[in-house]
């Protein structure tokens, strides 16, 4: 399948920027009342960046405490609040909003639509988030400690023994969940109803496909999480006993409910990342994506399988042996569609004429390091091995390898890839490459030793450790600081690009880029496509791809 997208005409006369009244009030009104998909996308990306720096600072506090054994820097309870909030904010405040932000910017442009299907809903789903995170962060100022039971907030730690601030966390999660659900409904409505005439579902860009599947995942799991935290709330205050053994409840039930949400959730975090990588690799390899149909089916298969593997998080919580076996095999089965995706990506770049611009560097790093994280995941799936590995730093190494070079790197790659389109200016390539090498090397310095620490038996979520773990912990801490500060280069690069410091970007930006968004000028008009472009499909069109606007280079 090789689509050639030809924009019939784009009438630049209709183009206008955001309507903004003068002064500070005008500025606030523009951003608070905006229903424009690009503005809302920018807001999502901004809140993700702010949260990223915040939760990253928490990670650095954790690593500082772990630089030496013994209690040195922060109190144990504060350490626990740091691990909890780092996890909660990174998952709900960074990775989820960043991909919703990318979806807002890109999906209407990729489909040839003027905007999202439900613009006012879009505004609301974003503006719920600042309130949710204000509530979540306010727990630091509530007496009796912020949430301190890990991001999984297992009962009874979060019910019977939870600090009073737990209720604030519960409501923050309710609001975040509402935001995700509204955002997902909007994305599904946009994808199903707003495609350019002639574009069939199986002709959509991969990023749009992965988001369609992700949105359905979110619609199915966020209500379950909302139900779970509501049960926590009633257990805490209204005398129910869903998770309290004394009243006939069962704390294990909490784990089932949480991971029924939690496992599909990790695919919510990674599927849009797969979509981004599937856009970037073909562009810089100057080839079309290998096995498009299989990529779509593999994504759907991963989404389906994600619902029937949740018990692998609970092998040591007391699971009958038959159930453990079933969930072990179903977990390992996920490696098949994931393997299809990895091999298809490799086949995409195979024999391509590759150039190594910053987005491509991050995409290739994704390919290697996400696979590494997948392999340690397979090790954890083995029931007897999991008895040994669970709750050690091996688990920490595993999920950081899939989330940092997986989700975070692909989000960074996406920003580098699309920011020339968004702003009309190229980012600083030298700084981009410096950011890439610093972060990639320091990431491995940080997380690779954690494999060894875990195999040697260092438990996670503990502020202190035995003396023999000191060396690897010190290496990890040094790496973490380099990794954390390398993102200031990224931030600087973004700000400079937004301020228009780089050279002007062309329409197509990248030589090998294809899709509706590259037929719009850079930066694109405020309402992307006022007249739907015509989608034309051609059987073999490597040449046809390049003819449309080469002359403007």
């Amino acid at each position: 399948m090789t689509p050639t997208r030809v924009s019939k005409h784009h009438d630049d006369d209709h183009d206008h920027g955001a309507h903004q009244e003068p002064g500070f009030l005008g500025f606030v009104k523009r951003w608070v009342f905006t229903t424009n998909h690009k503005d809302i996308g920018t807001l999502y990306l901004t809140i993700a960046m702010v949260n990223f720096l915040l939760a990253g600072a928490m990670a650095l506090l954790i690593r500082s405490e772990l630089f030496l054994p013994g209690h040195r820097l922060i109190a144990p309870d504060f350490f626990n609040t740091m691990t909890t909030m780092h996890g909660l904010i990174m998952v709900f405040g960074v990775v989820m909003p960043v991909f919703v932000g990318l979806a807002n910017w890109q999906i209407p442009m990729m489909l040839g639509a003027p905007d999202m299907a439900l613009p006012r809903l879009n505004n609301w789903s974003f503006w719920l988030l600042p309130f949710a995170f204000t509530i979540l962060l306010s727990t630091f100022f509530i007496s009796g400690s912020a949430p301190n039971y890990g991001w999984t907030f297992y009962a009874p730690l979060s019910t019977k023994y939870g600090p009073p601030s737990t209720d604030f966390m519960i409501f923050a999660i309710h609001i975040m969940g509402m935001s995700s659900i509204l955002g997902s409904i909007n994305i599904i409505a946009t994808i199903l109803n707003m495609r350019a005439p002639g574009m069939k579902l199986m002709q959509m860009p991969m990023f749009v496909w992965t988001w369609l599947i992700t949105a359905f995942l979110l619609l199915a799991i966020m209500p379950v999480l909302a139900g779970t935290v509501t049960m926590m709330l009633t257990d805490r205050h209204f005398g129910t006993s869903f998770f309290d053994a004394a009243g006939g409840g069962d704390p294990i039930l909490f784990q089932h409910l949480f991971w029924f949400f939690g496992h599909p959730e990790v695919y919510v975090l990674i599927l849009p990342a797969f979509g981004v990588i599937s856009e970037i690799l073909p562009t810089f390899s100057r080839k079309k994506l290998f096995g498009y149909h299989f990529m779509v089916y593999a994504t759907a298969a991963i989404a389906f399988l994600s619902y029937i593997v949740w018990v692998h998080h609970m092998f040591t919580a007391g699971v009958p042996i038959q159930a453990a076996l079933i969930f072990m095999y179903s977990t390992m089965l996920i490696a098949v569609p994931t393997g299809i995706k990895i091999f298809n990506w490799v086949a995409t770049i195979f024999k391509g004429s590759i150039t190594f611009e910053t987005p491509m560097l991050f995409a290739i790093a994704f390919l290697f390091m996400f696979t590494l994280g997948g392999f340690s995941g397979l090790m954890l799936a083995i029931v007897p091995a999991d008895y040994q590995y669970q709750d050690t730093y091996f688990v920490v190494a595993h999920f950081h390898y899939v989330l940092v070079p997986g989700a975070i790197f692909s989000a960074i790659a996406a920003v580098y890839y699309w920011i020339p389109k968004w702003t009309g200016h190229m980012y600083n390539e030298t700084l981009g490459k410096l950011h890439f090498w610093l972060s990639t090397i320091s990431l491995n310095i940080t997380f690779f030793p954690m494999h060894f620490l875990g195999l040697a038996g260092m438990p996670r979520r503990i502020p202190d450790y035995a003396l023999q773990f000191t060396d690897f912990n010190q290496i990890a801490t040094v790496g973490a600081f380099i990794f954390g500060f390398s993102h200031l280069i990224f931030l600087y690069n973004i700000i400079q690009t937004v301020r228009g410091k780089g050279k002007k970007a062309t329409k197509r930006v990248w030589e090998g880029a294809h899709g509706f968004e590259w037929t719009l000028p850079s930066p694109p008009p405020y309402h992307s496509f006022l007249t739907p472009p015509v989608f034309v499909e051609e059987a073999s069109s490597h040449e046809a791809w390049d003819v449309s606007d080469h002359h403007e280079k």
Binding site: K160, A220, P223
Partner: protein, 192 residues
């Protein structure tokens, strides 16, 4: 001015949003439906070590070819200053044989407290074969300050118990249910 195309699209849009919203509500309900579903599944498969409720005395005969060791354990949940222990540590019995044992409980505080004992059977596969005719765990137990008592337990082991089970451990944990949950949380703050 709306043309036919836009009108059709809006109609389609509304139907889609209604369908998706009902799906969300359904999944919220599904979360709650997991609770009874989980309990029924655990009970039917006997997989989380919980014993079932009251059964009638077994008088269909004793399988004397087998002997099963039953061990008794007792623990109190945190913050309950009670003494709680089985009178007998172990009994050896045949499947089908009715046994009566007792747990000793003493309220070491000076005020009246209500407690609930929660059973747990190991191996969990044995849970549905351990049948109780009478148990102090069937109801909440109220005792005055400094009061002590022997609590009865009358049970038998089903003759269909799998051949590989030779030892069954029955553990009881005592939970304080005197106060409402909110009060418990408050009183625990100091310890956290």
């Amino acid at each position: 001015m709306k043309n036919d195309f836009q009108f059709l699209r809006e109609k389609k849009q509304r139907r889609l949003v209604i369908a998706l919203t009902s799906f969300v509500l359904m999944m919220f309900g599904f979360g709650y439906a997991m609770v009874p579903l989980y309990n029924v599944l655990c009970k039917q498969l006997g997989i989380n070590g919980k014993t079932s409720g009251r059964v009638v005395l077994d008088d269909t005969g004793i399988d004397e070819s087998r002997v099963i060791t039953v061990q008794f354990l007792a623990t109190t949940n945190a913050y309950i200053p009670w003494e709680f222990r089985p009178r007998l540590r172990t009994v050896r019995m045949h499947p089908g044989e009715n046994k009566a044992v007792a747990y000793f409980a003493r309220n070491n505080t000076d005020h009246e407290m209500t407690v609930q004992a929660i059973p747990s059977v190991t191996p969990s596969g044995a849970a549905k074969y351990l049948k109780k005719t009478e148990c102090f765990c069937f109801t909440q137990q109220k005792m005055k300050g400094q009061e002590e008592m022997d609590w009865p337990l009358l049970f038998h082991i089903d003759k269909n118990v799998p051949k590989n089970i030779h030892t069954i451990t029955l553990a009881y944990t005592l939970f304080d249910v005197t106060k409402s949950h909110a009060q418990v949380i408050e009183s625990n703050q100091g310890h956290l």
